[in-house]
Each structure stands twice: as structure tokens, then as C-alpha cells.
Symmetry: C2
Subunit: 113 residues, 2 copies
């Protein structure tokens, strides 16, 4: 059985996805904190549709947030950048992540959505 | 420190992403097997650029594969569908997943890529 709460409930395409990949190490758990804070900020933004996230036992994680428009993503990114800037003096964890912004053109699954 | 092998090394946008979300339960590990088989098939396909994958302790996983074109994705999907059809008589695990196909328009990260 699946875990419904883990799957984002989204409208039909097109919409936008922000794919955030990060790695959290035993020595620095800031990567995970960053991902959590990014999603906390995202959920407060107009145009936020939902998100899905998973992090493995080795500390590598993928968080995908879904958005109604690139404008909504830009507003979110400005907040994330501010968050990162605030943390810059404390830690260097923000140095290790990848972000990819994509336009979702097709979506399908089982059970059908 | 990051784990370089966990991050896909990709060319600059545009390219395409297939975001595969699935849930593996204690009672049926087929979801994880499906994800692994999908990537095994992907790596054999022309136009496959790379992939990133993470699954959490609760069994929810996200695998993102990256492609040079929608044609490459279509060829891969036909193989995946065949795989699923082969397994259909054995198990129902293929009933619980979500697939989203997206065109990556921007990519950035730290260290810069």
C-alpha cells in the first residue's frame, strides 16, 4: 500500500517543478535543515502546489516542490536566497546542492491521477 | 561534504527530467525493485543523461532520470511498460507510483555546475 501523504496531490499539467538534490553528512546536518526550511518557506508562497521529499540512509536527498508558475518560484527563491545569506556566516552547508527548474508537461501514475 | 556519485553530472539545459515517485512497503518490496529496473533500462537507452535517487526509511522514494529528448523518454517508457506487463501477472506493486515528465529550463547549484 502506498502512503497517500507522501505523494503530492496536484492539478493537471502544465505546472512547474523545482528539483532540489542535496547531501547531508554525519558531520553536518545542515543540508537536511536547508531542505526543510526551503519547504517551510515554499508552503507559505502563493502558487505553491505541493512537494515530495525523500532522503536515504547515506544522507542523499531529493525534494521536489511543485508550482503554478515561474513567477511563484522566483518569489520563493528570493526568500530562500535570503535564508541562505542569513546562514552564510554560520555554515558552509549551502555549498553542496543542485537545483533544477522544470516545466511539467505530462503526468500519470497508478492509481490514476 | 557531498557524495559526487549521488549527483548526476549533466549538460546545460534544456533537457528533460522524468520524476518517478514510489512507495515501498514492508509487505511488498516491489516498488523499490521497479525503480531499480527502470534505471537499469534507462542507462541502456540512447539519450539517457543520468539519474538521482533517494528512498527514505519509511519506503517513500524519488528517482529522477534525465534525458536529451522526449523521443528518448518515449523509447525508454515503451521498455518500462513491457517490464511492467511482464510483472503484472505476478504482483500488483506497479499500481502505486507517480510519473511526471518535465522540461528542465534552468539548473544551478553549489559547487557551481
Amino acid at each position: 500500500m502506498s502512503t497517500p501523504s507522501s505523494f503530492a496531490q496536484l492539478p493537471g499539467p502544465p505546472y512547474y517543478a523545482v528539483i532540489f538534490s542535496s547531501h547531508r553528512t554525519l558531520g553536518d546536518d545542515g543540508y537536511g535543515k536547508m531542505a526543510e526550511q526551503m519547504i517551510e518557506l515554499a508552503s507559505l508562497q502563493p502558487g505553491f502546489l505541493g512537494c515530495e521529499s525523500a532522503r536515504d540512509a547515506e544522507g542523499f536527498g531529493i525534494t521536489v516542490s511543485y508550482w503554478s508558475s515561474t513567477e511563484a518560484i522566483a518569489a520563493w527563491k528570493s526568500n530562500v536566497d535570503h535564508l541562505v545569506a542569513q546562514d552564510r556566516g554560520r555554515r558552509g552547508w549551502y555549498e553542496h546542492y543542485q537545483v533544477r527548474v522544470a516545466r511539467v508537461e505530462r503526468a500519470y501514475g497508478k492509481p490514476a491521477t
